[in-house]
Amino acid sequence: MSNPFSPEPARIVRKYKLTKDVKFFQIRFIDKERALSFEYRPGQFMMFSIPGTGEAPFSISSTPSRPGLLEFCIRKTGRLTEALFRLKENDEIGIRGPYGNGFPIIKMNGYHLFIIMGGLGAAPLRSLLLYTLDNRELFGRLHLLYGAKRPKDMLFKTEFFEFIEREDIECLLTVDKDDTGKWPCYKGFVNSLFQRIEDIKPDNTYACVCGPPVMYESVLNELVKLNIPKHQILMTLERRMKCGIGKCGHCAIEDIYTCIDGPIFTYWDVLHMKELI
């Protein structure tokens, strides 16, 4: 019987700072075959394992359309991330996965995509974003709306700045507060970007949202105002997880397990969850 709890050996290939407390990790399975044949969907997550510290789940930030390396964007918040931040390039860690439902890519084919993120919400959505850009012909219009607190808090700035000049993506970046005086893009919360959006065919649109709790309410309001169907608004939920495979019970919300039934849910699913309203 294969053991789904077994971490597989992997190596930290690159590690660098994105912001004060967020680091970027490139990780590769040590087994070459495994590294190249590993399949996943945008929106899925992996369990990281550090012996003596334990395990924790992290969203995959890279796209399956670029195999070989897995990328993660991780904020230092707890015991495991502290231990992870202490590891150096070339150090080994254990990973297992991929877990979770991921985005329903096939269903989203042909649709206009809104990718809306705030702060660390860029971590899971960057995967979808890069996947869409690598398979541009499969999707309709593409909007990226990203909000950060200040210019220095914005993740993947260089990468996203390049999108502003591209013709195949409408990239709107905003900061709550510009403390540099040199911010070249928008100012204000993410929801303020909606006034710049025109010619939406709501039935033909999927919106994917991830960000801090404060962002959801205002953004969901805007999306509902645009008449985007609630089952085409997708969001990710975060819960405590110990196993990632629907056994330990920690991530339960009523009748669903965030780890196997989620972490991607439609706005309609979420409205059904009494605990969340």
Binding site: M1, S2, N3, P4, F5, S6, P7, P9, S49, P51, G52, T53, G54, E55, A56, T77, G78, R79, L80, T81, G94, E238, R239, R240, K242, C243, I245, G246, K247, C248, G249, H250, A252, E254, D255, I256, I260, K274, E275
Partner: protein, 350 residues
């Protein structure tokens, strides 16, 4: 299903034979309670049906066990050799708890730790008559059709033995001469009488089909706050509940050589830290929220996923909860809209 008869006085001989086939487990007395334990001397085995303190889950999901050993290079799966075990005296409600676990631990990903122990265990079920806190007829777990290898019904001077699996048949083959194949009309009548007697002896009846709707309607009811005021968050309900399967995982570092043991141990959603994520945010800080999760999961969610509640009617929560928060008192409150303190079983009757 094949049925045989075993004379009462032959039970010891049969179990003795069985104990040569693998480790014999079953209920024995420890202090004031009964526990499932390894039986070294057949005299210690309680042959009559009893409600043990901890349910049968402890044999398949031990309270704490090692998952991996990290030797500094790789994670070695715990290769502890599981002995062949034969468990005697498992009541039908607890057979149902294992059927529920089979689904939970087999769903999407197979949990090897559970299924290895399951494969290595032969189960001899034992029919019982309801005790005061039993309500398995309401949960429809008073009868079994699968999930056991042998099942025995205690009639006047013999046991009716149902052979459920080929593993069960192997036990019979150890001493075929002890068994009588001739089940007479008289025996059948005796069995029917026994069944009627059992069905009429239940004190409690709960309409579980109506409960999911009531859970929905009562989601914001003040009853949850009332229960929360009493709840001690001790988690005893989860420990004794045959269908509570939550666990936590912890790494323990061996100071002598720096190797690491990854261990898995019982957890309870009644504990405050249960839903706390890194950074300190707690999704269920309030006791009422945690109580609601426990009962929603048992009585609502499970019904949605599997068509029946995950309560098996064993009554352990009734016996164990020090402040009388249990399936009965909660269902009563859901039905009446208030927490009726007088309707609960008194300490004395436990």
């Amino acid at each position: 299903m094949r049925t045989l008869k075993l004379k009462k006085e032959k039970l010891d001989t049969f179990l003795f034979k069985v104990s040569k086939h693998g480790e014999l487990w079953g209920p024995r007395k420890k202090g004031e309670v009964y526990i499932y334990d390894k039986i070294d001397d057949i005299k210690d085995l309680i042959k009559e049906p009893v409600t043990t303190f901890l349910p049968i889950k402890k044999l398949f999901l031990p309270p704490r066990f090692q998952m991996f050993h990290y030797n500094g290079k790789t994670y070695e799966e715990n290769t502890e050799i599981f002995q062949q075990r034969i468990v005697y005296g498992v009541p039908s409600c607890e057979i149902h708890s294992l059927l529920i676990f089979d689904r939970v631990f087999g769903h999407t990903y197979k949990d090897p730790y559970y299924f290895k122990r399951r494969e290595q265990t032969t189960i001899i079920a034992l029919s019982c008559l309801p005790r005061e806190s039993c309500f398995c007829k309401s949960t429809n777990t008073h009868v079994i059709e699968e999930g056991f290898d042998l099942a025995m019904t205690d009639l006047n001077d013999f046991y009716l033995v149902w052979v459920g699996t080929s593993k069960g048949d192997d036990l019979i083959r150890l001493s075929p001469d002890l068994f009588d194949r001739n089940v007479t009309q008289e025996d059948i009548r005796e069995f029917i009488e026994w069944r009627e007697r059992r069905n009429n002896e239940f004190n409690q009846t709960i309409d579980f089909v109506a409960i999911p709707d009531l859970m929905d309607l009562n989601y914001n009811s003040p009853i949850w706050e009332e229960f929360a005021e009493k709840c001690l968050s001790c988690g005893a309900c989860s420990m004794v509940c045959p269908t509570c399967n939550c666990f936590d995982v912890i790494d323990e570092i061996e100071l002598s050589d720096g190797s690491v043991k990854r261990e898995r141990y019982w957890d309870s959603c009644m504990f405050k830290e249960y839903s706390m994520v890194a950074g300190g945010h707690n999704f269920r800080e309030a006791k009422a929220e945690r109580l609601k999760l426990w009962y929603t999961h048992k009585l609502h969610s499970f019904t949605g996923a599997y068509g029946k509640p995950s309560c098996i009617g064993c009554g352990r929560c009734i016996i164990t909860c020090p402040v009388d928060i249990n399936i009965l008192s909660v269902v009563k409150a859901l039905l009446t809209g208030k927490v009726d303190k007088n309707s609960l079983l008194t300490r004395k009757s436990k």
